[in-house]
Symmetry: C2
Subunit: 234 residues, 2 copies
């Protein structure tokens, strides 16, 4: 029986929409499409099967076991894919997440990166597993369109990242996001949900603070990242 394993080589798209995203954006890693025998043979189904066939991805309709992957009883379609990573770091604008721990946040950050054409997402371990089906789902498939890779340290990322402008987001600085000069190519750097970036990042590039009231300790990570990315658009 298929079950998601963090250390395994496979992961899954749970649901029809997500499986379409897999086939449309990253068909080369798709291995199999499982269809619940209860799935109606409607237009959506026909489209999915055609798309899978066009990409030489087998569609299996007589296997119920894999549906134990899904918490929702009524999941009709599951895509199985090989985990992948971006081997060559693109130039352009990056987001760097240092030890993100929440899978939901990580997924929605992928979504915002895709929405605003971020070229690359670097994730510094230890970090949440972006291949966990929960994260794949919360990314709404954006994991298939934003190039990304994991690094064992920020230094390892930096050694490969080339000449660029570094902007760590942290509350320990007085440089307001609104006022800071925004230069390209950039890397916007964000810390862990609970602890943020440690003070050593005050010596990295141009630290930035999102101006906020004293009513909160901080913003939710995905909101801080979204505001940061959006503010750096032309």
């Amino acid at each position: 029986m298929a079950k998601y394993e963090k250390k395994g080589e496979l992961s899954y798209t749970l649901g029809t929409t997500l499986t379409f995203e897999l086939l449309l954006r990253k068909a080369e890693v798709a291995k199999r499409i499982y269809v619940n025998p209860k799935q109606k043979r409607d237009e959506t189904y026909t489209k999915l099967v055609h798309l899978a066939e066009a990409n030489h991805v087998p569609v299996i309709t007589n296997n119920q076991k894999i549906f134990s992957l899904s918490e929702k009883e009524n999941t009709m379609v599951i895509g199985e894919f090989e985990k992948f990573t971006c081997k060559r770091m693109p130039q352009g604008n990056h987001v760097v997440l240092v030890h993100p721990s929440n899978m939901g946040n990580l997924g929605t950050i992928f979504r915002s990166c895709a929405a605003f054409n971020i070229d690359y997402l670097a994730i510094i371990s230890p970090a949440a597993d972006c291949f966990d089906p929960k994260c794949v789902r919360s990314s709404m498939g954006a994991i298939f369109s934003v190039p990304f890779a994991y690094f064992s340290s920020f230094e390892e990322y930096l050694a490969l990242a080339g000449q660029r402008h570094l902007y760590p987001f942290m509350l320990q600085t007085e440089n307001a996001l609104k006022n800071v000069k925004k230069e390209k190519p950039y890397s916007l750097i964000f810390g862990n949900e609970a602890t943020g970036l440690d003070s050593s990042f005050l010596n990295v590039g141009t630290p930035i603070k999102i101006e906020q009231s004293s009513k909160v300790d901080s913003l939710n990570l995905d909101n801080a990242v979204s505001i940061g990315i959006y503010s750096f658009l032309d």
Copy 2:
């Protein structure tokens, strides 16, 4: 045994930090503080007890039952409070959520509203229950600092909202957020996570679109709201 009920009059802060927020920002609705017998009698505990006493809120240390409320076995402190609402709508800048369905999103939206000094959050039913302990937690206590109320329709809200500039966020318009003239006082209006605002909102005030790539259908709701609020700051 205490158990959260949507139709009941009570809700709960699960955890020490959240319970501090309750006592610091909204002590008048706090009814009781329950302390797990395993809680150490440390400095945090002493502060909590003093704060509760100063606000005439009883602290109960010999009751384990209420801890069945919490999914986390190790919750040390739970605050019990009466549900509340803001009786008089303040002027100033509002966020209006039309049928938000996700409790996590609703909580992080409270957090962003508090961070950026939004004066009022209007929630149009049917909608997620902001008093659910999951939402209270994801708000990180911001539910205690942002005035809010539920309305049965957008029209009901509008009838009470007075003269103001209305900005519905929707993808069916071509007015880009970056370019639109931002006037105060304003109401930033957002639709449901899955369906957005219906096209009737094209006739309400100045519709706005957050410019985004075709790689995604939309942003996650809390990210759209956060970008919207931040962009409307001076």
